[in-house]
């Protein structure tokens, strides 16, 4: 029994890394564009399919498909940002918060149903990154999961380094703190917004490509990670990338433990989905600013 719990917790840790990547992307978008991206889960989903088709149509090896997926998701996000999000930067747009919600919600409906048409409603499973499993003692884990966790960690470290060390990363930080001041020092804020939305989408898409071999792809696979990402971002404190990483791992592990410990196995998987939703609702009720968040401006 303990072994089972351990395995579930480890699986949870792996999935937690993935959640952290998704949530980090959402956080980047939120801190810079000041909107909550309801389409994030769908970009994650598209990333998964991008990866699948990169392998199937272009013959790229699986682990390189992740990079292709990230690039294509980046491009897709930039496309949406350029065509639909520009009113957010105009002073004449009213109620920008509402606009952001409705537009990204609309994008999510568009993408999800487009995926049903293009890819069919049935799950697709991309080929494994590395076949076989790793075993040591009681621990048995597929190499795919280990790779996914590892690649996720690489992405997160990359993101953190990018934000703190590179010029563009610092520009992102600057705009997230104050758009006006950033503009005054000559940062092109329009470009930063595009970069931020693209970067967030790229991360989500990469995460999608990583989980493809593990959980299979389906057009509605973005719905649950979407709300989970919200839970994580709010728990970690909206606007804090570090916070969302920690929260992502926490939620992943707790979810694993939930599945392991839930008394009724026939229902545990279904209610595991509800678990993160309930966590989200509880966090919103009691600590809307999360545990690590810096004070942020009202989102309206």
């Amino acid at each position: 029994m303990l072994d089972y719990i351990l395995i579930q917790a480890l699986n949870g840790l792996v999935i937690g890394v993935i959640y952290a990547v998704i949530a980090a992307g959402l956080t980047v978008i939120f801190s810079i564009l000041k909107i909550v991206n309801f389409a994030h889960g769908e970009v994650y989903m598209m990333g998964g399919y991008f990866g699948f088709f990169a392998i199937a149509l272009l013959g790229i090896p699986p682990f390189a498909s992740v990079i292709v997926a990230m690039l294509l998701s980046f491009a897709l996000s930039v496309l949406f940002e350029r065509t639909l999000l520009t009113p957010l930067y105009s002073p004449t747009t009213e109620r920008k918060g509402d606009y952001g919600i409705l537009v990204t919600f609309g994008i999510s409906i568009l993408l999800r149903n487009l995926a049903i048409i293009l890819f069919g409603p049935f799950p697709l499973r991309p080929p494994s990154f590395f076949s076989g499993s790793f075993s040591a003692g009681p621990i048995l884990m597929s190499w795919d999961r280990i790779f996914a966790a590892g690649a996720g960690v690489v992405m997160l470290v990359g993101l953190l380094l990018f934000l703190s060390r590179s010029a563009w990363g610092q520009a992102l930080n600057a705009v997230s703190q104050s758009r006006e001041s950033a503009a005054i020092v000559g940062i092109n804020d329009r470009l930063v917004y595009t970069l931020a939305f693209g970067l967030g989408g790229g991360l989500a898409g990469g995460a999608g490509a990583l989980v493809g071999p593990i959980y299979a792809l389906s057009p509605s696979m973005g719905l649950v990670p979407d709300t989970q990402a919200f839970a994580i971002v709010i728990l970690g404190g909206m606007g804090s990338v570090g916070g969302s990483i920690i929260a992502g791992l926490l939620i992943g592990v707790s979810e694993g433990l939930f599945v392991a410990l839930f008394p009724d196995p026939s229902r545990s998987l279904a209610y595991a989905q509800a678990f993160s939703l309930l966590v989200l609702m509880v966090v919103l009720l009691f600590r809307p600013t999360g545990f690590f968040g810096r004070a942020h401006a009202a989102m309206e």
Binding site: Y99, L102, N113, L114, F230, L277, L278, P288
Partner: protein, 319 residues
């Protein structure tokens, strides 16, 4: 009320009354569904467009009403109208509860929370399939034991008229003013003496009650209920209806519902593409006509009436 608006509404009412006699049973069903969606869209518009409470959980209340009504009738062997009434009361109370616990939330937080609420409900309904029939569906006894759609149609129309009537009265009264004040600036509303807590809870309760009402009608009419009625995609359809029609006006939301439902059927040949099209339409509307495509068109159209009246020979008083 402006004469243009009055004339337009009169036309629509007339058409609505004789509609079932002009079309075949297939389109009668479409009409009934359109009316169902109209009640949902209008109540959503009240909550979101009018009072500014951004809820994505509305379909959760529709499914709550539908399942509650069906299950009450099933378990307690009570007549359907009684089951419906009970379910409406339940939706209203749960709606008030959600409104209350959401008091500290605004904008996206509220949207996320209500979406999560709706999803949790859907998952529970799906998983507890011994009680609810799960994905296979719950059979619901019909209200009318006749092959004709007419009784259902006129009941639906009556429910819509009653709902719209009550909501419109509310909107025209000082409550409507307070809802708008809360939407515009909650802090200023409080400083102005508006009982923000009371009115936020109230608008949630009312909107959820009407959503539940729509749900209680839906079950017996369709004959089978699935948890999908509370899905995010269904919410998306309602959002599209209200926004395309015009979320800050109840009649506009109703027309939006009619329009989208009509399109849904007219484009039946396009199958899955329909939701893609609605998504795209929603995006276009948000991007270019935020107050609603139809509201825009209506405002242009009703200008025709005063203009026409002005061309009539003099005799009456000026407009």
């Amino acid at each position: 009320m402006r004469s243009g608006n009055l004339a337009g509404l009169g036309c629509i009412l007339l058409v609505a009354l004789v509609f079932p006699f002009l079309v075949d049973t297939y389109w009668q069903t479409v009409g009934i569904l359109a009316i169902f969606y109209a009640i949902v869209a209008a109540s959503w518009a009240l909550l979101v467009g009018y009072a500014g409470q951004f809820s994505f959980g509305h379909m959760g209340f529709v499914s709550l009403g539908a399942y509650a009504s069906a299950l009450l009738v099933q378990w307690l062997a009570i007549p359907i109208p009684l089951g419906m009434a009970g379910a409406v009361v339940l939706s209203t109370i749960v709606g008030a509860g959600v409104g209350f616990i959401c008091l500290r939330m605004r904008g996206p937080y509220l949207a996320i929370f209500t979406m999560a609420f709706s999803e949790v409900l859907r998952i529970v309904l799906l998983t507890e399939n011994e009680v609810t029939g799960g994905a296979g569906g719950l059979e619901v006894a019909p209200l009318f034991h006749t092959r004709s759609n007419l009784p259902s149609y006129y009941l639906a129309l009556g429910l819509l008229a009653a709902s719209l009537g009550i909501m419109s009265l509310m909107v025209a009264s000082r409550w409507g003013l307070f809802f708008r004040a809360i939407r515009e600036n909650e802090q200023a509303a409080a400083a102005g003496g508006v009982r923000v807590v009371r009115f936020r809870v109230l608008v949630f309760a009312i909107a959820s009650g009407f959503a539940g009402l729509a749900g209680t009608f839906y079950g017996p009419f369709i004959g089978i209920l699935t948890p999908d009625i509370g899905s995010v995609d269904q919410m998306g359809i309602v959002v599209a209806m209200a926004m395309i029609g015009g979320a800050e006006s109840l009649p506009a939301a109703v027309l939006g519902a009619f329009f989208v439902e009509w399109m849904y059927e007219a484009l039946r040949a396009y199958g899955e593409w329909r939701l893609v099209i609605f998504g795209a339409l929603l995006l276009l509307t948000m991007r270019f006509a935020r107050n609603g495509l139809l509201a825009l068109a209506w405002n242009q159209a009703v200008r025709v009436v005063p203009a026409w009246r002005r061309t009539q020979p003099a005799g009456g008083a000026a407009e």
